[in-house]
């Protein structure tokens, strides 16, 4: 019989569930962590709902960093943001390996679990890297900058913190249209909200700058070097939907 641990869908919640499994010595092959929203009840399982609590989360984080280092903790966080199905079970197994092998886990390239987690983290980190450059803000009449995007992975948090540092002098909102999540920054702090529709109007100036950017984008092409394949390889089509220069 499996022991199902339900968590609230957040990274902190997940870590708390993992904390209980590991500290209570539950058999790793019998434990499953599932997000509350995704769980479909099966009556043969024993189900337990884990409350997110800061103490357990911090304990877990401390343990991971002590056993390895910050880069591994970040890797786990990124892997958690991945849209891979069953990410929880990969990461849970990774955590078990981590507490057995310590730092060595960074070099276990041939282990399938380690490999899978590395891959997930890399995929997320690559997407974050791309969106740092490919998010497009527009100026709204409401007095803030607004950007829409539809990332494959759930990366609005790291993206928002990047722009908190970069556009710290402006008020802005970043909208993950696929997940209906919005990050809002008021020149002091970032807040995350769930939001379905936003009705906004762009400023008159905005249209002019979009036009200038489009013009510039076109004028930079060296015809003799044209290479649309290379363009697409660097900037896959799924990023184009909200790019001013591509619309």
């Amino acid at each position: 019989m499996y022991k199902i641990f339900l968590y609230d869908g957040t990274f902190e919640g997940f870590m708390c569930a993992a904390f209980h499994i590991i500290s209570e010595g539950i058999d790793k092959d019998r434990a499953i962590i599932v997000s509350k929203n995704e769980y479909q009840p099966m009556f043969i399982d024993s189900v337990r709902e884990v409350q997110s609590d800061l103490k357990a989360f911090l304990e877990m984080r401390k343990g991971i960093i002590e056993k390895t280092d910050c880069s591994v903790f970040k890797k786990i966080y990124y892997a958690f943001l991945s849209d891979t199905e069953d990410k929880e079970s990969y990461i849970l197994r990774y955590l078990f390996l981590l507490f057995t092998h310590g730092k060595k886990i960074k070099y276990l390239y041939s282990d399938d679990i380690v490999n899978a987690v590395e891959k997930m983290a890399k995929n997320v980190s690559r997407e974050i890297g791309k969106y740092m450059g490919l998010i497009r803000f527009c100026e709204t009449n409401e007095g803030f900058l607004y950007a829409k995007f539809e990332p494959k992975n759930d990366i609005i948090k790291p993206i928002a913190y990047f722009f908190k540092n970069r556009l710290n002098e402006f008020c802005w909102a970043i909208h993950d249209v696929k997940r209906n999540k919005v990050a809002i920054y008021d020149r002091k702090k970032v807040q995350f909200l769930i939001c379905n529709t936003l009705k906004l109007k762009v400023t008159h100036q905005e249209e002019m700058f979009q036009m200038l950017w489009k013009k510039y984008f076109k004028s930079m092409v060296i015809e003799e070097r044209k290479n649309l394949k290379l363009q697409q390889q660097n900037m896959p089509k799924r990023y184009w939907k909200y790019l001013v220069e591509k619309n």
Binding site: S110, G133, L167, L212, K215, S219, M220, R225, K226, L230
Partner: protein
């Protein structure tokens, strides 16, 4: 002329400058708009596949010089335009806050005089830094013959400065740039190097340069040797190579039908080998007038000529030996060294570490074994044939042949 038209003219005029980096800045942030990011960020890719990181524009394309290869030379009958510092500052800020760009790359033709031009570049960046409190990345060209004092003042406001070396030899420079001398280029370059060594916050992301490839008969050896010299003597961060695009008809320029892109790519790879992998120009080239092999990358070219140094044993080889194996890069070499402490590595492990076995398998053994039997005794021609078979570049100069593999690393040259 309105701003839209100016942007079109002066953007198009700057597109042949190949530098696009926005990385490596160490300027301290105090307050104001924006930040730099040490790894650099690409914000878009044009239809030719080159990344856009900075708003790359000329201040003006009105030029008193007449360089044979340059679209903006005095004798060309083209549309001319000049920005004002205010216009550039506004464009930069507005593009930046919409996250179109990482900052500004400001170059210029030489209008009125070198000092007038340099003064305008200085005023523009001053306005950006002080009036607009702009804190993003700025790369500015130092204008040949401009006063060193102006260059110095500008250097404290920007992340990177560069003087274009233009051509790989003095002879070529004399032939194609009647108005520039070797001196006029090397003097400001040397000056920037010197001040950067002495002063904090002076061009903190370093200095770079670029040269045109294929407009003259200079060999790849000459080019790479020059780069090596520039890295050593002037501590340049990067040398950029720009395959010459035929924009002018001029009898002094070698006739080219299309830009020699594959050659450019090989030069970036060779540059990477001398900059990061500790190769020297003399090692890479057998004789002094030689060119790189267009069929295989320069590391393979070198390895095939030095088969007596191979195969190397993965479990014992030093880091320096490992990074010289085709298909093994810095990252894989580090991983191999860290990982072999824990257990012995086989070819499958290497694959998972990111080693490109397609190339490496001819040059390594794992625990004394080769990848397949008989691989090691193959003669160089045979290995080369096997390595070029699949992406058979029979017509290397034709654009249609630029498949994924050839172009994945145009700018970095990583192999």
């Amino acid at each position: 002329m309105d701003i839209l038209e100016k942007l079109e003219v002066l953007g198009a005029a700057a597109k042949y400058d190949v530098s696009c980096a926005s990385s490596g800045s160490k300027r301290e942030k105090h307050f104001g708009i924006g930040s730099t990011f040490s790894a650099g960020i690409c914000h878009s890719w044009t239809d030719d596949g080159r990344c856009i990181s900075l708003l790359k524009i000329l201040f003006t394309n009105e030029c008193i010089f007449d360089c044979a290869y340059c679209i903006n030379r005095k004798s060309n009958d083209i549309k001319r335009a000049t920005f004002t510092p205010q216009e550039i500052a506004e464009l930069t800020i507005n593009f930046y806050k919409r996250n179109y760009i990482e900052g500004l790359f400001l170059s210029s033709a030489i209008k009125n005089s070198p000092d007038w031009t340099m003064e305008m570049l200085f005023r523009t960046v001053w306005l950006l830094r002080y009036k607009y409190q702009f804190n993003g990345y700025i790369h500015v060209k130092a204008i040949p013959y401009a006063s060193l004092d102006l260059i110095r003042k500008t250097g404290f406001l920007v992340d990177r400065m560069s003087v274009n070396i233009e051509l790989p030899s003095e002879k070529s420079l004399r032939l194609l740039c009647p108005n520039k001398t070797k001196e006029s280029i090397l003097k400001p370059m040397e000056f920037i190097t010197k001040v950067a060594e002495e002063e904090k916050n002076f061009v903190s992301a370093g200095q770079s340069t670029q040269m045109i490839i294929g407009a003259t008969d200079d060999s790849d050896y000459k080019i790479i040797n020059l780069s090596q010299h520039l890295y050593k003597k002037f501590k340049l961060k990067r040398v950029y190579y720009s395959a010459y695009t035929p924009v002018n008809h001029d009898p002094r320029i070698l006739k080219v039908d299309s830009p020699p892109l594959l050659r450019e790519h090989r030069l970036y790879q060779a540059d990477w080998l001398i900059r990061v992998y500790n190769f020297s120009a003399d090692e890479l080239f057998k004789s002094k007038d030689e060119n790189l092999d267009l069929e295989v990358d320069p590391k393979v070219m070198w390895a095939l000529r030095n088969l007596d140094k191979f195969p190397i044993e993965i479990s014992k080889a030093s880091y320096e030996q490992l990074i010289r194996v085709p298909g093994i890069g810095i990252k894989s070499a580090r991983r191999i060294i860290k990982n072999r402490v824990f257990h012995s590595l086989d070819f499958e492990d290497l694959k998972k570490m990111g080693v490109v076995l397609k190339r490496a398998k001819y040059f390594i053994t794992c625990n004394g074994k080769t990848f397949e039997r008989f691989l090691i005794d193959l003669p160089p021609e045979k290995i080369k044939q096997k390595l070029t078979d699949k992406n058979s570049l029979q017509k290397p100069q034709q654009l249609s042949f630029f498949d994924r593999e050839v172009f994945t690393s145009v700018i970095t040259g990583e192999i």
